[in-house]
């Protein structure tokens, strides 16, 4: 594979689709070396085939707003790759939606899904409809109109959409209702459904729980145990809460949480009561953590700073994109951090990642560590197919198993000559390899 040559052709074929082209370049560059060790890929033109979606639908969505005015939006579904399982990927309702963005997202989704080790292909869809400022009824009418077209292209064994920006439980409900009416069937055609009609348990916790399961594997690989380890967690939302809860349950000592206002340092570590209090903080609708320090006198609130200045064994960024910068990484390393497990999407800046890799500190990238979120979609599909609802414990057990498999896959492709495990490389390649191999095995289609 010659990435440059391939990109040149692709740019000629899809001029102006900058987001999509950028994503393709990034993925291909990452896997180039591994790819070129597989002559069967080159012969089968896997790279050329994998970058093109299997098919994409563009359709008109016509609906009537509350004023009786006719509104027209554009709907899309990009079915990218179903080599390892039914197309699977979110629907996005946002004014910025266009074919280029959906192709970019759909392309990345192939490898994210593959990394979970579950049988899920890659897809993405959506519309330029903006649910912001719309009434419930307008959202409902739009969703119904959208599904009136989409329903003929999806199915529990064909294509299983989920939510994304602008598509939450409410929209999934309306979409599912319309699908059920049109298809005259009650199947797991969408994930993210309500608990009363096929949704799965522990969705809010899945990402955080999964991250800790992955961390446990990382530690084990280093011959370490999570018990007694000091962990810095950022954020105090669902993900941070799930991670803190699971880590504490497993015997770790979570010493920080954070908010936009600063961070809390709790020397004694979080316990069940404190973890419950995180939910209460959340429920205050105030997006600050400072009150924690008033509630628990042993802790202190550090205004306007990030928790990475605290000396810990493990850092788990759980809050936002780019929340851990180069300086933060230096500080963590200077304080003797032993493992970094990135839970938030792109939580670490590139210079921070470089610093960790240079220091040979195991760094788990977000796409692997937070794959628990994606995995629950797969688990919802499984339950729907079985016509069963698992208990929380059953879902949790499956999640644990999946995270272990992801870790194993990362090891397979990320272990370097000196024994250092480059999880980022491993995660990037593992997903790709699985899809590429299955494409080879299934012939030229």
């Amino acid at each position: 594979m010659n990435v440059e040559k391939l990109m040149l052709e692709l740019e000629q074929r899809h001029p102006g689709e900058s987001e999509y082209l950028q994503a393709v370049r990034e993925v291909l560059t990452t896997v180039e070396e591994a790819y070129n060790q597989h002559p069967e890929f080159e012969t089968n033109k896997i790279a050329e085939r994998i970058v093109e979606p299997d098919r994409q639908f563009t359709f008109k969505v016509t609906w009537v707003d509350d004023l009786g005015q006719v509104q027209v939006n554009t709907g899309y579904r990009v079915q990218f790759n179903n080599a390892i399982g039914p197309y699977k990927g979110g629907l996005r309702f946002h004014p910025s939606v266009n074919p280029s963005i959906l192709k970019f997202l759909g392309f990345e989704q192939i490898f994210k899904n593959a990394l979970t080790t579950l049988p899920m292909g890659g897809a993405k869809g959506g519309s330029d409809f903006n649910p912001k400022g719309k009434s419930d009824r307008e959202v409902m009418r739009f969703c119904q109109a959208f599904m009136t077209e989409l329903w003929r292209h999806i199915g529990p064994e064909t294509d299983v959409p989920a939510g994304d920006m602008g598509v939450g439980a409410r929209e999934i409900g309306y979409l599912y209702g319309m699908y059920r009416k049109l298809a005259l069937e009650n199947t797991g055609v969408l994930t993210g459904k309500g608990m009363t009609f096929g949704g799965s348990l522990i969705r809010p916790e899945a990402t955080g729980f999964g991250a800790v399961y992955f961390l446990v594997q990382m530690l084990a690989k280093q011959g370490m145990d999570i018990r007694g380890k000091r962990i810095a967690i950022s954020g105090f939302g669902n993900v941070a809460w799930g991670a803190a809860k699971k880590a504490t349950e497993l015997g770790a000592k979570v010493v920080t949480i954070s908010g936009p206002d600063g961070y809390i340092y709790d020397e004694a570590g979080l316990d069940a009561e404190k973890i419950d209090y995180m939910l209460e903080l959340r429920a205050s609708n105030n997006d600050i953590v400072a009150p924690y320090a008033e509630q628990f006198p042993g802790s202190k609130f550090v205004a306007g700073r990030k928790p990475w200045e605290v000396a810990v064994d493990i850092a788990m960024p759980c809050a936002t994109q780019n929340e851990l910068g180069g300086e933060d990484a230096k500080q963590l390393l200077a304080n003797g951090v032993q493992i970094v497990a990135e839970v938030s999407n792109m939580g670490c800046r590139p210079e921070a990642i470089e610093a960790f890799l240079a220091a040979k500190i195991p760094y788990g990238p977000g796409k692997a560590v937070n794959a628990g979120g994606v995995a629950t979609s797969g688990l919802e599909m499984t339950q729907n197919a079985q016509k069963l609802n698992w208990t929380a414990e059953e879902v949790d057990a499956k999640l644990h198993q999946i995270m272990t498999s992801i870790h194993t896959a990362c090891l397979e492709y990320g272990t370097e000559a000196d024994g250092y495990i480059n999880y980022m490389k491993g995660a990037n390649i593992a997903g790709f390899m699985k899809v590429a191999k299955s494409m080879v095995e299934q012939g030229i289609l």
Binding site: A169, G199, L201, R203, P204, S284
Partner: protein, 991 residues
């Protein structure tokens, strides 16, 4: 002359006041008309005045609501002597109207308009030749009496003064605002003096003479005019009150004003007559020394006690007059009555001899006639002794007649508070004389509108009404200040705490305490003690939210409750003089001495639970929305609601915004992310523990801020909240779900469990129609009522919002945004500006949501400097300006940015601006004529060339702010209706 004086004293009849105004055409909107009638009983005041002068045919007022109607009427009947018009009176503007009238009918026309810089700017720019006089009006009806008197005095001056020997006061003042303030006070003093004179009159004829011969006021607006009037009438002048700076010749432009013309006039007069009393007034206290040297009095115009000092000056020669009951045998005084109530009491108690004496002499009816109480006077005159079998019966009849009359007076919309007749059935009562203040006026007006438009029972199961209110009129504020000698304290520079301490330690007049005791015996709920100042909330006066509103819990112990209420009233009075209020009054070019406070006592809407009291929801709604979203139109209006007490909304806290036209489309709850992040996160409730109401400059001292986690047990909660269903990651509106509460108002807005949007839309519509301008209302709703009882919608306040009318001349097709320093398509504002030289901006690279409070501090200091240097500026920085949440923007209050004439909320990539919605902040922004732009240049919404400014030398540069000064003014054009605004690059820099 000597002969005239002798004639006067001997009582020989001279025909004073030969020329009079018989018919007045009043052109004003129904809101202004209402204020005239309710606030001051204008017709009865005029009638009283004429009765006292024993003149027949008091002027009849004919009111029309637009210039168009006026012209139509004049076509049919042009026999009006005088036309008085307000500013906002329809399509033919007042300037054109005046000219039309002049050309066709030669009738004098006076314009009476509230003070607004914007309007005054327009007045300055327009051809005023059609207007004989311009007066500045704060809703005080005595100004209208003063105008009539002034015109009549001028008509009769020559004959009455020179031939009749009438005395006069010369007022030299070229400022519309000042003479509009002085004239009513002067006339009030003159009337009091006149009454005093009557006591030593020898006979009735002389009384009439003296009544008719009350001193006149001569107004001069230039030096030449003043000298001419002085020379003409100097033999009969009581004294001179003069400004220091004014123009030399009549109709000279204001900028040619000579700064010491008054000093020159003073010298001129003192040379002629060293004993002539002269009072000089100026905002520059440096002139005090000069005035003293010349033997003249001096008042600082910006003195906090200006009017009190003026009164003192004039009081030296004038006094009051009561009805004095005498023992006919001895002539000894056995009692006196100052007003009808006291008259009623005295009639019941004076000795028989005195009673018989005064009734047989018709003294009572005469006294009543002289006060303009014509029907009562006529009735009492008919109560001849022969009709009654005993003196007691006669007395009872008179007492009843007076009481009935008083009750009749109180049965209007604004009843007079009567300790004997007051019951909780009286919705709106006033205690005392004087103005009701802006807030109370608006409320009284809406009360009448609710009845007129039959809103109160429009929706089944819902009662729409104003809360039962009692207004303490401004008279008691004056009494309180005077009786406690607080004017001295006000002259000192004291901290807010010291001022409050002095006020709280002072005594409320006994008469008021008596009335309050009666009122409190009917009260069973907590009370809100709200300011209703003379300046606040009157047309174009953005005082909203400046003064304090205290809340007092209900306690069964009456003495305790009275004590709490008195403390709250004193605290509200004190808030007039708090630093923030003073700065505000100064920045809005008002005079603190003009400010008088009425106080509203209102039952608080809501219910009690666990020692806390609150309504289900409170809100503020505006009939015009400068920030419409999606399909919303500006005229649909906008509403912000919050659970609990409304202080949260009024102070710009986090509330829920919706358009009354689209209650189903609420931006903040349209996605779960927004609902979780952007909805209300604290609820205000009144702490019912009396001990919590401590003396404090913080009017929220006894309010509790409840966190979201504390509201679940409250009964109100179920009406306004939804639940975050964590497992399903959705908002559940089911009343039975448990979990994190979100105040969405979904039950009300989506499922219409209460017709909130309809009611708000109705009231905004009615208010705007009747006031003929956009309005803002405040309201509270209580849904926590026992089954079967009506839910309550309380209208708490209504006030006009200034809307700019003559802003349509900008042709945006010709405007080139590429030549802009700043350009935006989300704008509200006021037309063109060409006098701004300063740009202040927050250096975006130093901006972060964590330093907003420090930015506010730096801005406060810079703004103060601008104020001291008399500069105005364009302010640019990441918004939302005026947000009380430092994470949402720089938490400025009005005093931080009072000198900014254009404010730009400029988003940066890390800080996208959603337009501010703090209502009071925006009331001020719009009313004071500030241009407002919201732009997000980084995503192509608008332009702000910061790099260009960065390349210019800084006039000042601090940690966060940079100030660039331009020699040439920057051209600014803002058009709120087209939603665009632009600040042009200086000519030399244009590309």
């Amino acid at each position: 002359m000597k002969q005239a004086i002798e004639n006067y004293h001997s009582g020989e009849r001279y025909r004073f006041m030969k020329y009079r105004i018989h018919r007045i055409l009043l052109v004003c909107s129904s809101y202004d008309g209402y204020i005239l009638e309710e606030d001051g009983h204008i017709e009865s005041q005029i009638n009283r005045e004429y009765m006292e002068l024993n003149l027949s045919n008091p002027p009849a007022l004919t009111r029309v609501s637009s210039t168009r109607e006026a012209l139509e009427l004049l076509e049919k009947d042009s026999s009006f002597d005088f036309i008085l018009t307000m500013y906002h009176v329809g399509e033919v503007d007042v300037f054109t109207f005046g000219k039309l009238v002049k050309e066709r009918w030669q009738i004098p026309v006076a314009l009476m308009t509230p003070f607004s810089k914007d309007i005054y700017r327009r007045i300055d720019e327009r051809d005023r030749s059609g207007l004989d006089y311009i007066f500045c009006w704060h809703g005080n009806t005595d100004l209208i009496i003063a105008i009539i008197k002034l015109i009549e005095d001028k008509m009769n001056a020559e004959e009455d003064i020179l031939q009749g020997g009438v005395q006069a006061i010369l007022l030299v003042e070229d400022s519309i605002r000042f003479y509009s303030t002085y004239l009513p006070e002067l006339y009030k003093m003159l009337l009091q003096q006149n009454t005093e004179f009557l006591r030593d009159a020898f006979n009735e004829q002389q009384q009439i003479l003296r009544k008719r011969a009350r001193p006149k006021v001569l107004l001069a607006t230039s030096y030449d005019e003043a000298v001419m009037l002085y020379e003409n009438y100097k033999q009969n002048l009581l004294g001179v009150i003069s400004d220091v700076g004014f123009v030399i010749h009549p109709n000279d432009p204001p900028e040619s004003e000579r700064l010491d013309a008054g000093i020159e006039l003073c010298r001129h007069i003192k040379r002629d007559n060293p004993l002539m009393p002269i009072l000089l007034q100026s905002s520059q206290i440096d002139f005090r020394q000069t005035a003293n040297t010349l033997g003249a009095g001096f008042i600082a115009k910006n003195s906090k006690t200006l009017l009190l000092e003026l009164q003192d000056f004039i009081r030296k020669e004038f006094a009051f007059g009561d009805f004095i009951f005498k023992d006919p045998a001895t002539g000894r005084e056995v009692g006196r009555a100052k007003d009808l109530l006291q008259m009623q009491e005295m009639i019941a108690t004076i000795p028989d001899a005195a009673f018989e004496y005064h009734t047989s002499q018709n003294h009572l009816s005469k006294w009543l006639y002289s006060r303009g109480l014509f029907p009562l006077a006529a009735k009492i005159r008919k109560h001849n002794k022969s009709l009654f079998s005993s003196t007691d019966e006669h007395r009872r009849s008179l007492v009843n007649a007076i009481r009935d009359y008083r009750t009749l007076l109180g049965q209007g919309v604004v009843a007079r508070f009567d300790t004997e007749t007051y019951t909780d059935a009286v919705a709106f009562a006033r205690i005392g004389e004087g103005s009701l203040g802006g807030k109370a006026r608006g409320l009284a007006f809406m009360n009448s509108m609710l009845i007129k438009h039959r809103q109160y029972d429009k929706y089944p199961g819902v009662r729409i009404l104003i809360p039962r209110s009692v207004v303490i009129a401004t008279e008691f504020f004056d009494d309180f200040i005077r009786e406690n000698g607080l004017s001295d304290i006000l002259a000192q520079e004291l901290s807010d705490e010291e001022i409050l301490a002095e006020f709280v330690a002072s005594a409320i007049p006994q008469r008021l305490q008596e009335a309050l005791r009666t009122y409190l015996s009917t009260v069973r709920t907590p009370l809100a003690i709200r300011s209703s100042s003379k300046l606040e909330d009157s047309h174009f006066q953005p005082f909203a939210g400046i003064y304090s509103t205290y809340m007092v819990p209900y306690t069964p112990n009456r003495a305790q409750m009275l004590r709490l209420v008195l403390r709250a009233i004193k605290s509200v009075y004190a808030s007039v003089y708090f630093a923030e209020s003073r700065a505000y009054i100064q920045s809005s070019q008002n005079l603190i001495s003009e400010e008088k406070m009425a106080v509203i006592l209102q039952e608080v809407c809501g219910s009690e639970q666990e020692g806390l009291f609150m309504p289900t929801l409170s809100g503020v709604a505006r009939s015009i929305n400068y920030y419409p979203i999606g399909d919303e139109r500006a005229e649909d209006g906008v509403c912000n609601v919050a659970m609990g007490l409304g202080k949260l909304v009024v102070d710009g806290g986090r509330t829920l915004r919706f358009s009354p036209a689209y209650p189903q489309r609420v931006l903040q709850t349209s996605t779960p992310e927004l609902a979780l992040r952007e909805t209300q996160h604290e609820v205000l409730a009144l702490d019912l523990n009396p001990a919590a109401f401590r003396s404090s400059i913080d009017d929220a001292v006894n309010l509790r801020r409840l966190r979201m986690t504390e509201i679940a047990p409250l009964r109100h909660t179920k009406h306004v909240t939804s639940v975050w269903d964590r497992d399903n990651e959705r908002i559940s509106d089911s009343p039975f779900d448990q979990g994190r509460r979100i105040i969405t108002f979904n039950n009300i807005l989506k499922y219409n469990t209460f017709p909130l949007a309809e009611i708000v839309a109705d009231l905004l519509h009615i208010g705007a129609e009747e006031m003929r301008c956009p309005v803002e209302i405040e309201f509270a709703v209580n849904l926590d009522v026992p089954t079967g009882q009506e839910q309550i919608f309380n209208l708490l306040q209504i006030r006009p919002i200034i809307d700019n009318q003559d802003n349509r001349s900008i042709d945006w097709a010709k405007v080139q945004p590429e030549q802009a320093l700043i350009y935006g398509e989300q704008a509200l504002g006021i037309g063109r500006m060409s006098d701004l030289h300063e740009v202040v901006y927050i250096k975006s690279e130093h901006f972060s949501s964590l330093v907003t409070e420090r930015i506010a501090e730096e801005l406060l200091a810079l703004n103060l400097r601008m104020q001291q240097e008399g500069r105005s500026y364009i302010l640019v920085g990441p918004g939302r300006w005026g947000s009380s949440d430092p994470f949402l923007g720089v938490p400025v209050k009005w005093t931080h940015i009072s000198e900014a004439k254009v404010i730009v909320e400029c988003g940066i990539p890390s800080f996208v601006v959603d337009p501010s919605q703090g209502t009071h902040f925006f009331q001020n922004v719009t009313s004071l004529g500030v241009g407002y732009l919201t732009i997000n240049p980084f995503r192509g919404e608008g332009i702000f060339r910061q790099e260009w400014l960065d390349h210019h030398e800084a006039h000042y540069e601090g940690e966060f702010l940079r100030w660039v000064h331009f020699e040439e003014p920057l051209m600014v054009a803002i058009d709120g209706r087209a939603n665009r605004g632009i600040v042009m690059l200086p000519d030399a820099e244009k590309k």
